[in-house]
Symmetry: C2
Subunit: 211 residues, 2 copies
């Protein structure tokens, strides 16, 4: 099965919402999903010279309305957590480490971290919390704690982010299917269309005239 | 007929693409469209403290791919014009002035300015070009030229932009229907859904499962 690349950052509400849809969407078209963590806040936005949505006047207000709305649109739970200073560095490194030995567990872990932040409204930044979530799913906590402190794992995530940037990823969720880049949780209709038709002809009319 | 507010800036490729769809989309739902010019580049982005897409690393490359793609999706002509330093100040002021006396002519003028830039790849910045386009549609060129130099018309556009900002508009195209704000040419499916159902429940599943 050809993969659909799904670039995500746990701190993005739109990545969370996409994470609830992407597996089923891809499966309907006989595709698997390659989950690829990136650090949108601490790395990519620096390269772009822009600031987070939530620190951007006007856009921040829209986001506070749009997050719950998008969750309702897709019928998934959502909480505005109000936390500040969160980052996904430890969680993303843990995801990569888990994937090396057990892809299925890593996948459950990713969903779990998203739910912790966006459904339960609990922080995902501290390494200890990240490890506790992995342990609850059956991972080896001591080995993970050790790995999280290692330069190898730090380097592995840095390489993932560099690879994403080389592929043009500048926001999340970001999908690449058959080389076609699609940015945004509001563009799942485009990904869906592409996976059916493999072209863009008439996609807009098709999308607007279905009811 | 209740109006759908359509905020646009002639310099935005996404506003252009939306401009080719919005009238028919609204009409299908028995709505009229209130076309509202804003100055996204010279005013709103300054308030937000962000720079234009085309000056943002990574995003600029995406835009160069996405503009033609979105045009194909909606089946409309599109040209990457490659012009720099363009602004829509004169065109937007002219639009407001025309609307005062002849709304239908102003509407044709707006489509014409969009086409000049995004189909023909010709500049829309010089007041003389803006006046020539209006005259070709039947406007009084002398009166428009005089108006474009007046403080009253300058003030009228400034008020429009302030009004838009007060309503949360931070990008274009931006739609407001029944108080519901929708940003982006990639969200016409949301506007379409809202105008049919007046709610968001299950909109995502409806959109993804139609083929």
């Amino acid at each position: 099965m050809r993969a659909v690349d799904f670039y995500f950052d746990f701190i993005s509400p739109y990545a969370y919402i996409a994470s609830t849809q992407i597996d089923a969407l891809a499966a309907r078209h006989g595709r698997r999903v390659a989950w690829r963590p990136v650090l949108i806040g601490v790395t990519i936005m620096k390269i772009m010279g822009i600031k987070p949505l939530i620190d951007t006047p006007l856009k921040a207000d829209y986001l506070r309305h749009d997050g719950p709305r998008m969750a309702k649109i897709y019928g998934v739970p959502y909480r505005h957590h109000g936390l500040t200073g969160i980052n996904s560095v430890a969680a993303s490194r843990a995801f990569l480490w888990l994937k090396e030995s057990n892809a299925a567990l890593a996948h459950r872990f990713a969903h779990r971290i998203f739910a912790r932040l966006w459904v339960e409204g609990r922080d995902i930044t501290p390494a200890a919390d990240v490890v506790a979530e992995a342990v609850a799913l059956g991972a080896d906590g001591e080995a993970l704690t050790e790995a999280l402190a290692s330069p190898q794992l730090k380097q592995a995530l840095a390489l993932e982010v560099d690879h994403a940037i080389a592929n043009g990823v500048f926001g999340v969720p970001y999908f690449i299917a058959d080389g076609e880049p699609i940015w945004g949780g509001d563009r799942l209709w485009m990904l869906d269309h592409w996976l059916v038709h493999g072209s863009w002809d008439g996609a807009g009319a098709m999308m607007l005239n279905r009811r």
